[in-house]
Amino acid sequence: MLGYTITQWIFGILSFLAIMFALMVVFSRNPVNSVLYLVMTFFCIAGHYLLMNAQFLAIVHIVVYAGAIMVLFLFVIMLMNLNHDTEPKSKWLPKTIAIIAGGMMLFVLVGSLKGTEQLNLSSYGASQIGTVKNLGKVLFSEFLFPFEIASILLLAAMVGAIMIGKREIK
């Protein structure tokens, strides 16, 4: 099809959508819309994961991000009743500068990535690594310490969130 393989088509469409939705996240005025666009972006990224045979990761991704984190966002937005355009018209100058800075960074990154040797991804072996079994093995052997210590992280986050979140008792 027009000289591209299906994979390339899928990659192209997913990438386009991801970028589109990402832009919508940034430029939408309503936070709720932003959340929804972000969820869409995550789905596109999950599609990429699938494309790269990282099935388990794709599922976890959907569950954690779309299922948990974004819901949390929505929850907070609703809680604060921000479901409307609360953001006042922002000044054009910071925005312009931000966009210029972003553009410069993109230019720089692309410039520095140019000339990299073309390394094509191959599905050989890739189909093996993304499985639950394989990932579990790696996680509980090589990455055991980080896995354990991540509990401290979550614990800390939990304690912190609770401490901040609870109302002061007078």
């Binding site: 910071p94 500068i97 931000a98 800075a101 972003g102 410069m104 960074m105 720089v108 990154l109 410039g111 520095s112």
Partner: protein, 629 residues
């Protein structure tokens, strides 16, 4: 005896210490006696040493007191040199010093700073003795500066008077200008010869280049100019008359101001080697002599007249030195010490009689009231005028004879000077002692002869002034010139006179004739015609104004040196130091603050801005590292 030389300066020092520490507790007479006795002791010792030296074959004795400064190759012991030159000066200093001490007991009797006066005077004698006794240039310099200090203290003796204080300060500072030259000369001597002891230096003097010798000689001469009040450093001496009159006699006439002559004589080898230097000395001398003599013509202050006369006579001595007549110059120093001390003390006596009045316009006819003073001063005037057989004639004549041999032009100028001298001295004498009294009635009533303690020194000095010529009778008359023989060992390269005797006789006759003529002229003018000096400056003719105002030299110095210096100092302080240098230093501080306040503007508090700057930071770093490379 010579071994005891250290005692000679020590006695005045002891006198100084006693008077200095206990002066206030001592009675006036005791304090004066202590001071005088200490000088007398020195004098007696000096005489003994002098006699011993005359009898001994060895003409130069070095006695080391202690080691003073050592620095690498520089060794400066504190040591004394006894030789004919220094022993002669010892006699002059202690002898005349003693007379003046005695005189001062009477003169200063009513002053509240009586003991202080003697303290200073003793200290002065101490330093003066050090000056002439030192066996190296630095000890000489010690005495040199020391007498400067005493001069400062004594000129400003009446410290409540601002004008006197200014005069004292001026004397010190001007002397210091000369001293700097002297000091640099000493250092150049050390650098050249590796030593500053007289004998070692003089022995090696012939071995180095003439230009170095010239430099040394000129630097030393700068010192002499300051101390001996030569152009351009002479203006302090007339001002120095602010001090009590005995001080003027001792320091500013007889001893200290002749230190320059002593120094040049001591260093005669340098001047003998360097023609340039001796030319400079001679010309400076004669110009000063003439210049000061002209100023002396129209002065009205009795002491100022004597002061200018001193400057003039000193110039004459330098003229002698410059033409190589070292012993003649020393001879003139000696006779000058006699008659100038006499004149000053006499003037002191006059002032004493007049109750402090110094203006000759207000005097007149004093010869009847103060006879001793008059006669002694008369002798002094004759002596300075160079009328034979008084002392001044012989010494001045020797100098002029040498000068003629050297350069008739200089001789002519010298002659003019001595004629002017005769004129202003006569003017002073006649206006003071003859004619009618012009002072107030009260002063007239008060006129009286001075006490014995004052008149006796006057008489002694008069005797010396009259007979001092015996020390150096003219050789061509086959008379013994003791002075000349005495100093033979000191003059390293003598410049014997080759003039034939007839010529010398003619010159001598000319001098006497000139002096006589001028005397007669003055006599006609002031005694016969009774000309009186103008009471006010406006009455003067322009050329008289010029002279009367001393050619405005003081004012010129003021405008050329003092004011610009003050101005420059002000500029340095207000503009350079405070505004510029400190301004820069403080400016750095302000710059820090300025930059700080600019930099902190970046800290806007807005997250977006922080993030942007972080991104931009990354962008620039990547740009710098990858794209520009």
């Amino acid at each position: 005896m010579i071994k005891l030389i250290a005692l000679v300066p020590l006695f005045p020092l002891i006198g100084f210490l006693i008077n200095g520490f206990f002066g206030k507790k001592l009675s006036k007479s005791l304090s004066g006696i202590i001071a005088s006795v200490s000088i007398l002791a020195s004098f007696v010792l000096s005489v003994l040493i002098f006699v011993e030296l005359q009898g001994s074959a060895q003409k130069s004795h070095i006695i080391e007191a202690f080691s003073w400064i050592n620095s690498g190759t520089l060794h400066i012991p504190f040591e004394f040199l006894v030789d004919p030159l220094s022993s002669l000066f010892l006699l002059i200093i202690t002898g005349i010093g003693f007379l003046i001490h005695v005189y001062s007991i009477g003169y200063m009797h009513d002053d509240e700073g009586f003991s202080r006066f003697f303290t200073y005077l003793n200290l002065f004698v101490f330093f003066m003795l050090l000056l002439v006794l030192g066996n190296n240039y630095l000890i000489m310099f010690v005495g040199w500066e020391g007498v400067g200090l005493c001069s400062y203290l004594l000129i400003g003796f009446w410290f409540k008077n601002t004008a006197y204080n200014n005069a004292a300060r001026k004397a010190f500072v001007m002397n210091r200008i000369g001293d700097l030259g002297f000091l640099l000369g000493i250092i150049l001597i050390f650098v050249t010869f590796g030593s500053i002891s007289f004998n070692e230096v003089f022995d090696k003097a012939g071995t180095v280049g003439t230009s170095v010798i010239t430099a040394i000689a000129l630097l030393l001469f700068i010192g002499a100019m300051g101390k001996s009040a030569q152009i351009p450093l002479y203006t302090w001496l007339p001002d120095a008359m602010a001090g009590p009159t005995p001080v003027s006699a001792l320091i500013h006439a007889a001893t200290m101001v002749t230190a320059g002559i002593y120094m040049v004589t001591r260093s005669n080898i340098f001047y003998s080697i360097s023609d340039v230097a001796s030319e400079v000395v001679a010309i400076t001398g004669v110009v000063t002599a003439l210049f000061a003599a002209t100023i002396g013509l129209l002065q009205n202050d009795i002491k100022k007249i004597l002061a200018y006369s001193t400057v003039s006579q000193l110039g004459l001595m330098f003229l002698g030195l410059g033409v190589g007549a070292y012993s003649s110059a020393v001879f003139h120093v000696t006779t000058h010490a006699f008659f100038k001390a006499l004149l000053f003390l006499g003037a002191g006596s006059v002032i004493h009689a007049m109750g402090g009045e110094q203006d000759i316009r207000k005097m007149g006819g004093l010869s009847n009231h103060i006879k001793i003073t008059f006669w002694t001063m008369f002798i002094g005037t004759i002596a300075i005028s160079g009328i034979p057989p008084f002392s001044g004639f012989f010494s001045k004549d020797e100098i002029l004879a040498h000068t003629y041999e050297h350069s008739p032009v200089l001789w002519f100028l010298g002659m003019v000077t001595s004629m002017l001298t005769v004129f202003y001295m006569c003017r002073m004498l006649f206006l003071t002692f003859y004619g009618k009294f012009r002072g107030t009635h009260e002063q007239e009533h008060h006129l009286h002869e001075s006490p014995k303690s004052m008149t006796i020194p006057l008489m002694v000095l008069a005797l010396l002034a009259a007979a001092g010529g015996l020390l150096g009778l003219p050789e061509f008359l086959h008379l013994p010139n003791w002075m000349h023989h005495n100093l033979e060992s000191v003059i390293k390269r003598p410049d014997p006179m080759t003039m034939d005797h007839d010529k010398e006789l003619i010159l001598m006759g000319l001098a006497v004739l000139a002096a006589g003529t001028v005397w007669f002229f003055a006599h006609m003018m002031y005694r016969v015609n009774k000309v009186l000096p103008a009471a006010k400056e406006e009455q003067l003719k322009p050329w008289q104004k010029l002279i009367y105002n001393k050619y405005w030299v003081d004012e010129i110095y003021d405008a050329v040196i003092r004011k610009p210096l003050d101005f420059l100092s002000d500029i340095f302080y207000k503009f350079m130091d405070i505004a510029m240098i400190d301004g820069i230093v403080n400016g750095v501080g302000s710059a820090v603050k300025g930059v700080g306040s600019v930099v902190r503007l970046a800290q806007q508090g807005s997250i977006g801005f922080y993030v942007i700057s972080m991104v931009l930071g990354v962008v620039f770093i990547v740009l710098l590292t990858f794209l520009i490379k």
